[in-house]
């Protein structure tokens, strides 16, 4: 099992490396450069700026220097738009914000989605199931950029204390977290229902019922463990995506998190910031997938024998 995890970790490092390489060359293919602002800069100043950040070198030299700075000095480069601010500092400011939102959103998603999915599987093909799955389908089809303004319009305007945008006090968290949570809850509910429904139709569940087990005990003790497998595999990447910030929700509610940086850095051609953000995202995705693998090993003993073999 240790060997399996080590191999996964090795693959993960490779994935992050390839990801960073692709990003590095793609952003340099973008038309325009970071110094094209409202005011056109004179040619010689442009050249000085380029050489200050080492951008006049060939792409391969830049690429080499980039990794060298990270690995030897832990330096992710400076932001090109906000002069003098290192990328690591910008990420260090934005990450806690997105992390908090992501954790809260995920907590809401799990608290709503998993029970809804279980309930639906328990009443399979009866009206509570149909009702819940219709709601879940609607939740999938109504995108965040519709939910967010609607929440702002209904809750944000009428509930005192809630704010529609910004990040100044504790209650600002509520609406973005709720939006993130409910959208993911819909996916989770469908996955949980699918997984549970499959388990509930298996022989061992029938045996448990036949020997007189109470239905709730069957649901929670016998079926839950393997019924949650699909939901767990979804949770990992979804969690990584959530804590690295959702573009739409952060744009809608003007939350200064990673998602907002992602969009702005791309439109501003802030090369180092994009690379830093993608690196951060890649590492988190790999870690999240590793956690999913671990969780699946705990939940599903059959995988354990496969992994060691």
């Amino acid at each position: 099992m240790i060997r399996l995890l080590l191999r996964r970790l090795g693959q993960g490092v490779l994935v992050v490396f390839v990801l960073e390489t692709i990003t590095f060359f793609l952003v340099r293919m973008l038309p325009g450069n970071p110094f094209l602002g409202e005011r056109k800069l004179p040619e010689h100043i442009m050249q000085q700026l380029q050489s200050l950040y080492g951008l006049e070198e060939s792409a391969w030299v830049q690429y080499w220097n980039y990794w060298k700075n990270i690995l030897l000095h832990g330096d992710f480069g400076p932001s090109l738009i906000r002069e003098g601010v290192p990328v690591s500092e910008m990420i260090a400011q934005a990450f806690p914000v997105s992390f908090l939102l992501g954790v809260l959103g995920m907590a809401i998603a799990m608290a709503v989605g998993i029970p809804a999915g279980m309930l639906s599987a328990y009443y399979r093909n009866r009206w509570p199931d149909a009702l819940l799955m219709c709601v879940a389908m609607a939740g999938i089809c109504i995108p965040a950029f519709v939910v967010a303004p609607l929440f702002g319009m209904t809750l944000g305007m009428h509930v005192p204390g809630l704010s529609v945008a910004g990040w100044d006090d504790a209650l600002c968290v509520v609406l973005p977290a709720l939006t993130l949570g409910l959208i993911n809850a819909a996916y989770l509910a469908r996955l949980t229902r699918g997984g549970m429904a499959e388990v509930l139709s298996q022989d061992f569940v029938r045996t448990a019922k036949a020997k007189g087990c109470r239905p709730l005990r069957v649901l929670f003790v016998h079926a839950l463990r393997s019924g949650l497998l699909p939901a767990v595999s979804y949770l990992g990447p979804a969690f990584a995506a959530l804590i690295t910030g959702s573009f739409v929700v952060e744009t809608c509610f003007q939350v200064p998190g990673m998602g907002l940086h992602f969009v702005n850095a791309t439109t501003d051609r802030d090369y180092f910031l994009i690379q830093g953000l993608v690196l951060c995202y890649g590492v988190l995705i790999v870690l999240a997938n590793l956690c999913v693998d671990l969780a699946l090993l705990v939940l599903n003993p059959r995988l354990r024998s496969q992994g060691s073999a």
Partner: protein, 321 residues
């Protein structure tokens, strides 16, 4: 193979029931899928044919007497802050959204199908390499890549527009709105094929091990012929299902991009752009948010229900229950 009655005189020809006939019947019995299909057909007619009728005004024409008006006979959905008719804008926006959905899915379908077929059929080390590539691409932040990619092919597509204008002699005004969408088609399609490639590969591997493929091989058929004549047709059901289910996701991606301001550019507008405009002015005129959102969500809902219905009909084993 052929089913023939033993008494040709009594019943000259009994038509066999193919698996497709069964699937069609199953689909027709699925009420949600049929309602969705009807709705989608109506939506296509509304978005592509209705604007040709003179009763729908030009979506970019401003009615200065009715700025930010609410619903009336003249403007059924009201007008926006520039006095443009919202119904016309929603219909034209639907055109772009549906077009992007179908064309980008087509791009994704071609790439995913070929990639999955080759990977699954060749197998071995090639397969491992190809699938690791897919794994890496899966780990990429999708939206970031779409943004970067669509921006980086904007310049070539501008050159394409110039070339088309010069060679065909059409005016730039007619060509530019359509060709302006090309970067978006390619970017979304070029990154949306991953799931399909995985599914096609698994199916190909399953079919490859069947006896009739071995028989074809032993008759001396070439690999390309086997792939195209014997394996690809058997993938059709699965591919149809997952293509249908991919369309809503791709429409959603396009609208998300347009919402952030990186997708469809003016003078074009998609449902995403309209929802963005509506969200900006929702305190004053909530209609601007509500009407495009309703159209958008219902279309996605219908596509999903249709996809689920197709899956239940064509691929009963993998259906939910």
């Amino acid at each position: 193979m052929m089913m023939k009655s033993s008494h040709p005189a009594a019943r000259p020809y009994a038509r066999g029931r193919s698996l497709w006939d069964d699937a069609r019947d199953r689909l027709c019995r699925n009420r949600a899928a049929m309602v969705s299909l009807l709705f989608l057909l109506l939506m296509v007619v509304a978005c592509f044919l209705l604007p040709l009728c003179p009763c729908i005004p030009n979506p970019n024409e401003t009615d200065l007497g009715n700025i930010a008006a609410s619903c009336s006979w003249e403007h059924p959905f009201g007008t926006d802050q520039l006095g443009r008719d919202l119904l016309a804008r929603v219909l034209y926006g639907g055109r772009i959204s549906l077009l992007v959905g179908v064309v980008a899915t087509g791009v994704a379908l071609v790439i995913g199908l070929l990639y999955g077929l080759v990977s699954g059929y060749v197998g071995g080390r090639t397969d491992a390499l190809m699938m690791r590539t897919v794994d890496v691409l899966f780990a990429l932040p999708f939206i970031v890549l779409v943004i970067v990619f669509s921006l980086s092919i904007e310049e070539p597509s501008r050159r394409l527009t110039e070339w088309v204008v010069q060679t065909t002699g059409w005016t730039r005004e007619t060509v530019a709105p359509i060709l302006g969408l090309v970067p978006l088609f390619i970017a979304i399609g070029a990154l949306g094929w991953l799931t399909l490639a995985r599914i096609v590969r698994t199916q190909t591997m399953e079919i490859k091990s069947q006896e009739y493929v071995l028989a074809a091989r032993s008759l001396g058929l070439g690999h390309v012929r086997i792939l195209l004549r014997h394996i690809a047709p058997n993938l059709l059901g699965t591919v149809v299902v997952y293509t249908t289910l991919a369309v809503p996701g791709i429409i959603l991606t396009e609208s998300t991009l347009s919402f952030i301001g990186l997708g469809v550019k003016a003078p074009n507008s998609s449902w995403g752009t309209l929802i963005k405009e509506g969200a900006d002015r929702m305190e004053v005129t909530p209609e601007l948010l509500i009407f495009p959102s309703v159209f958008f969500c219902l279309t996605l809902l219908a596509l999903n229900f249709l996809g689920d219905g197709l899956r239940d009909a064509l691929d009963p084993r993998s259906s939910k229950d």
